[in-house]
Symmetry: C2
Subunit: 445 residues, 2 copies
């Protein structure tokens, strides 16, 4: 298949803007030639002429998407009260079918916003996988491991951990059509797990080359307690070997979600071990958790992606909000209107997110990468002045004005899963109806 478009954004390191360009997709769903039409080889198959901007699908590096049934619950509470008084009691009623339907609704919403990959931490993860495969999106599924009262209904942390290891050993790290699923480990946080559980999860993940995805220093409350006991979460993870068995971080793939309350030392530790960070400005601002030190994290060379967090703490699943919010908060907290440019913010949501989870075959349009693509419509008012404006203005219009509302078509592994704004595999109205039939039991009195 060959896609042509007046503008292709490969989301390479310099955020190039290719005019009158071509993207070829091979039969396996990977990208072949990318570049100007005039230099293109013979088309590898049918051609589709797009009229807007073709870009890589967005990578949502931190999500609990299946929580769509809980959206809007306790929306004006800080994190700890919100979790313990509202969310965890509701989650105690959730079964596998609830998770499947909740994830399906969220996966369709994300496709509508041009998000093709999400990193999911939840429980009953078989159901998460089923929903992702049904919607046709892509996910790195890191089943949660947690040891707090109430959650023992799902087993001990050791059982949760072993379950993930057995799953990976049976199905492999990546599987499904177009390798749509990657498995990893989701130890919830240092404040919800004993040190030995963190160490064991780190060892199991390293052994299998799997991603380890953990909440780090999200709010002052939990973070202060950990600091008093262990120095800090990054220092604890270092001491336990979670960040890597030697200080290059070799063999470890660690994703620190939120990472709001970090000292200079913490940032240096994460950088030294090549840990990635999922920056979640939407969730962190809604819950008044704080502003992560984005500019410092980037200056330290840390791969930083963006995450929506769950639909009950953000609350939409529109990563473009976080793209803009990351730039806004970076600018406000430094007083510098160039602290994060439109191009830099866009790259964080694409190749940056992929880098944060140790992938270079997502979030970019280059030969060999997965053909996860988004077509942005030129008819959006953001582009009323046309696509023919200078590159910087075009990127600004995409990031600051168009975003999710302009997403028209989405491909995952070369398959069109959104066509003119409508999911091709599942009827959203049916998915919503299915969720509606389940929600009273979960959140009702």
């Amino acid at each position: 298949m060959r896609l042509t478009a007046p503008v292709v954004l490969p989301c390479d390191e310099r955020c190039s803007v290719l005019r009158d360009a071509v993207v070829d997709v091979d039969g396996a769903g990977r990208i072949g030639y990318v570049g100007p039409s005039v230099w293109a080889p013979p088309a590898p198959g049918p051609e589709l002429a797009l009229t807007g901007i073709l870009a890589p699908g967005l990578v949502n590096t931190h999500a609990h998407t299946a929580m769509t049934a809980l959206r809007g619950l306790g929306g004006d509470l800080p994190l700890m009260r919100w979790l313990t008084e509202v969310i965890w009691p509701a989650e105690a009623r959730i079964d596998a079918e609830d998770v499947r339907v909740g994830m399906l609704v969220g996966a369709l919403e994300m496709l509508g916003a041009g998000i093709t990959t999400s990193v999911e931490m939840y429980f009953l993860s078989d159901a998460v996988v089923d929903a992702v495969l049904a919607a046709g999106s892509r996910a790195v599924v890191t089943p949660g491991i947690i040891a707090v009262p109430g959650w023992d209904r799902l087993g001990t942390w050791q059982q949760m951990l072993d379950g993930i290891s057995r799953w990976i050993d049976a199905d492999g790290i990546r599987f499904g059509p177009g390798e749509r699923i990657e498995l990893g480990y989701g130890p919830h946080a240092a404040y919800t797990l004993p040190a030995e559980a963190l160490a064991a999860a780190g060892a199991a993940a390293r052994e299998r080359g799997a991603l380890l995805h953990i909440h780090v220093a999200e709010t002052t409350g939990e973070d202060t307690a950990i600091r008093e006991q262990h120095g800090s979460v990054p220092l604890l993870l270092e001491r336990l070997g979670v960040l890597g068995s030697d200080d290059s971080g070799r063999g470890a793939r660690v994703l620190a979600a939120h990472a709001v309350h970090l000292s200079d030392t913490d940032i240096a530790v994460l950088a030294r071990y090549h840990a990635g960070v999922a920056h979640c400005p939407g969730s962190n601002s809604k819950l008044a958790s704080g502003i992560a030190r984005l500019v410092d994290l980037r200056a330290a060379g840390i791969a930083v992606g963006l995450g929506t967090d769950g639909p009950a703490s953000h609350d939409d699943l529109n990563l473009w909000d976080d793209v803009r919010l990351a730039a806004r908060l970076a600018r406000l907290s430094t007083g510098d209107a160039a602290a994060l440019t439109a191009a830099q913010a866009l790259l964080m949501a694409t190749r940056g997110g992929a880098a944060a989870i140790g992938r270079d075959d997502l979030g970019t349009v280059r030969p060999g990468a997965w053909a996860d693509l988004v077509h942005i419509g030129a008819d959006d008012p953001a582009f009323a002045a046309g696509l023919d404006v200078p590159d910087g203005q075009l990127l600004a219009n995409l990031v600051w004005a168009a975003g999710a509302r302009a997403v028209r078509d989405v491909w995952v592994a070369g398959e069109r899963v959104l066509h003119d704004g409508v999911p091709t595999r599942v009827d959203p109205a049916e998915a919503h109806a299915a969720l509606r039939s389940r929600v009273t039991r979960i959140t009702g009195p």
Copy 2:
């Protein structure tokens, strides 16, 4: 006409949620009965059964909407460099037809986001009025008055001021079908006008009962200069009589846009004179201007609305972004996740905006108010759990997850000007094409 809906949000002071309700609209475009279906009088005409949420149109209290042709220009610059190096030189090339077309594109975009009223400060304002009347939206048009090099091509500040007074004296404060246009005065700022111009504009506005709309303390740079010379902008405006001829503010309608850098004294002065504030968190964060003291402004009893600012500094014209951003920044700057609730943020964008400009017949659904209404679709994923959730959850889902993307239909003065997402009066594609044909001359080399 009678509209029925499973949910009506009148945006009254307590943000009531009416279930299975009715909104009647009279032949003049004003609202009649509002309330539960069971208590409704006989229908005054044809009935339309809506399936989603019916709410008042949003009030955008600070905009320079005609700048759509300049969208995305200089997006990574701070305010003063952005104005003097990029925007003002481009604006020197703009003619009346550019303004008309630019405003038309923006008015259609705002209708698509459910914004029915905007407060517009720009020049060549006849063209702004023409575009508003063509789109069928509503605007308070406050032509700019400015005295800086380059702008004298439009005349002296005295000529600009007199032009507004003559216009009001000829056409009245409000005119057009459904009183779609209100005229007011737009003295640009204390740093771009001599004190005598501010005083004269204040006197002319008071004399006519017109709104006076002025930029106040947007950035540290301009604000520091004024503070050194005059104490502060609010103190200067007080001394010049702009805020009112006695210290109750009686007879004066003043709208302070941005109002970022205010002392306790400044806030007390604005409160004492009953000045309104247009809070513009999107623009202020993008340009790194700072965070306005929203919680303190509200605590002082000041009527605060929300504004997008122009499409070249925000950059979309989606006030829902500002609704969320206002709550996010209030929460981050106070550390309190309840500093501004979803309901409070929604009211700021509706009745709060109307109050900030001294109107009580907009931004609320009550008998006698203008029938400026928005229908939010229940098919949006934000409402996947249904509309039948508790009131607080429904408001959270509307504010935090649905917003502009869920806007389906809009009425202004009882006339449907957006039908299932499509403007009824003007084809957006034609408006975009018209803008495109003009943009190279304005922003090109």
